[in-house]
Amino acid sequence: MYKWLLVYRYLRTRRIAAASVLSVTLGVATLVVVNAVMTGFATEMRQRIRGILSDVVVQGGGIDGFADVDRHLRLIDEAVGEYVEAMTPVIETFGLLSIDYLGQTQTFWVQIIGVDPVGKARVGEFAEHLVVQKGRVPSFEVPADLRAVERVFLEREGILGDLHRPSARLVPQLGLNGRSGVRTVHFERPRQGETEEFLDKNPFGDSGLDREATQQQKALLELDEDLAHADSMGLVLPYLIAAYRDPSSGRDKIVIPLGYPVRLVVPGSGRRPQPRFARFAVVDYFKSGMSEYDQRNCYVSIDDLRRIRGMGDRATAIQIKLKDYSKARLVVAKLRQLFPPGYYQVATWEELQGPLLAAVDTERRILTILLFLIIAVAGFGILAIFSLIVVEKTRDIGILKALGASDSGAQAIFLTYGLTLGALGSAIGTFLGLQIVWNIDRIERWMSTWTGHEIFDRNLYYFDQIPTVVEPATVCAVAIGATAIALLASVLPARRAARLRAIEAIRHEQ
């Protein structure tokens, strides 16, 4: 009883104790805020990556993938069907995206992903990341109004003069003679019979040894004719290619409008990949908030991509969404038996993104440790203050002991004191931290205007708000940890109080 009374009085009369409460408070508040923001970022990032990748991915065969996709799907369904919510085949390859804009041709290196829009939307967040079709069932169809837009651009710019005439037959002039390279691709109308001629003197192919490949390429070239005659296909353009942020207004400006004609060069399939060309019209923009993806990911219909690349029914990967992600390891293990490593790669999205996620986690852990050091510093403050108080209270401790208080009772006063300081600091710190987390955007905006610096650059992340996630377990751990440090800091002074001999303390007046 007396210990509570004394602790209460010491708390009220010792202003210096408030300083140690304050240091614990600040440490805890910082830790809570930093953890919430970092967890928020990590969670947001994970969610986005996972949405883009799906839960489990079976991939193999490079950019040509594996044949007989239906059989693969069936095998997966038989093996782990009970855990699978949805799956869809995709083709991932790379390519060059050329846009004629302002009288010049701009070419970008892009990741081309052929998906079934409906299937893709089922295995992850796809529709959510589309700017126009957000929340709808996504489609790569080019609607009539966009066709009209496309036609206007084709005619007005005149840059695709050859292309927009359906009769035009396109054969690429490769950059073999040094006239062109990666940056731009020139389109020239081939003369009659030139195609075969070109193939025959293909400097990269030995037609005698590689007759099969030559056959395939011939077939492809015939296909080109169809492609050239057909209408352009729908393409989802990476948002960061389509738009830039106007620094003066802070708003995004879309420079490549919907319906705009673009050209794609992709490697054809086969033993000797040839560049394949196709025309597309922009039907949507891909905006996930991850700049890496928003700069590179071009989505087209898997059927279109198969046709362009001459892949038959192949796919490079099967994306699987699980009913319960906690079963991912089990599913991966089972699928690895089915699809032997070496031929296939079976992995969860986390394994695919391992290094990035690990980096983020490491960062958070190190920061937590560093911030705990701040609290440890507060702990030393408590140690010093308590040691002073013990010296100051030597006589009081002696009196208490003379009146029958036990050694452990004297010790308990200071342990209780430390515990109370720690708990008080933790409680206030937690409260403060949570308040900051919950109002972080307002605080950030206020600080930004006040200091004149933008603290949280929304350009960088494409977040409208600073993402925060408050993990109750983490908050509790921080609060308990800080309290424990305060308690620990009071152990030494408390033991000194316990060792004190009553007689020495009370023999003198002071």
């Binding site: 004394l6 009146l403 029958g404 208080a405 009370i506 023999r507």
Partner: protein, 321 residues
């Protein structure tokens, strides 16, 4: 035995029942060195080493410092003998005063008897039990339950009010639960005692707001709240004007007479000392009876056998059983 707080509730039990607590088996009388006395001291010796480095330091560093100090100051410093074989017997309900020069060791003796310090040699018996060298928890219990202390320098806790200071022994004795449950009762009791020492108007004041005499009376109230069997009072009236001092002394004497409280009081004032059942002088490290005690008539054989000189007949009879 009743729980402590139950005992507390019967705090105003009759002197008979209180005395019964101190009754001992007469058959034990021969083997028990205390021979039925409430408190007996035999051959207490205590000396201090002055100039010596404080010993009992802990840890490697502490021991190293001890050694260094001893090397520097030559062996063990100067030996200052304070008590050189003190014998003392206190009967239940007896009021003994001790006088002596400043520095003669009166406070030291009280501390030894009250188990606050250990004698170099000698024995101390209390209620038929040897109490020197008891383990710390038992001493703590003894001091809290059976002894009351009025320290020479009052020693109140500056952060606590007069009331809280007074209640401190009870707070220490009982847990938080009891303190909350018996809050009202304790307060009433503390106010009662404070009233008796004339401090009822100062209950909620802090020590720094009180005068020396008020501090002293608070210390007396604190010493009495726990219903001690034996009260050690180190100059309890040192700061009081004669009238107030007399009042306080009246209170102590009435407790002595009515409730069988035993008192060992150190004082410098002849008149105060004279009101005790007997007066002893600490001189040259030994306790000797004061022959010029004005209340000699009340004592049976003051100078020859202090053991028999223990209060009134009735009390002796009660003790005898």
């Amino acid at each position: 035995m009743l729980p402590d707080y139950e005992r507390l509730k019967q705090s105003d039990m009759s002197s008979e029942s209180r005395l019964r607590l101190h009754r001992f088996d007469p058959a034990q009388g021969d083997t028990d060195p205390s021979r039925g006395y409430l408190l007996s001291a035999r051959g207490l010796i205590k000396s201090y080493r002055q100039g010596a480095w404080p010993q009992r330091r802990r840890g490697l560093l502490g021991r190293a410092l001890d050694l260094l100090g001893r090397l520097r100051d030559g062996q063990d410093g100067i030996e200052v003998p304070v008590l050189l074989g003190v014998d003392l017997d206190i009967s239940p309900g007896e009021f003994v005063s001790i006088v002596g020069q400043s520095g003669s060791g009166k406070s030291t003796l009280l501390h030894l008897l009250g188990t606050l310090d250990d004698p170099d040699a000698g024995e101390i018996w209390f209620e038929g039990r040897r109490i020197d060298g008891l383990p710390a928890p038992e001493r703590d219990r003894l001091r809290n339950h059976s002894f009351g202390f009025v320290f020479q320098f009052y020693h109140l806790l500056p952060e606590l009010t007069v009331l809280e200071n007074t209640l401190l022994p009870l707070y220490i004795r009982h847990g938080t639960k009891a303190a909350i449950r018996y809050r009202r009762m304790w307060r009433r009791r503390a106010c009662e005692i404070l009233d008796r020492v004339g401090l009822s108007h100062r209950v909620d004041h802090l020590p720094r707001q009180l005068s020396g005499g008020e501090l002293q009376r608070t210390a007396i109230a604190r010493a009495l709240i726990g219903d001690p069997v034996l009260l050690f009072a180190d100059e309890p009236t040192g700061n009081l004007d004669p009238a107030t001092g007399d009042d306080v002394l009246d209170l102590l004497i009435s407790l002595c007479r009515e409730q069988g409280l035993s008192i060992i009081m150190v004082t410098h004032e002849q008149e105060i000392a004279a009101r005790a059942d007997r007066t002893l002088r600490l001189h040259a490290g030994q306790l000797v009876p004061v022959s010029s005690c004005p209340k000699q008539s009340r004592l049976d054989a003051p100078s020859l056998n202090p053991k028999i000189s223990c209060g009134s007949e009735g009390r002796v009879a009660t003790r005898g059983g």
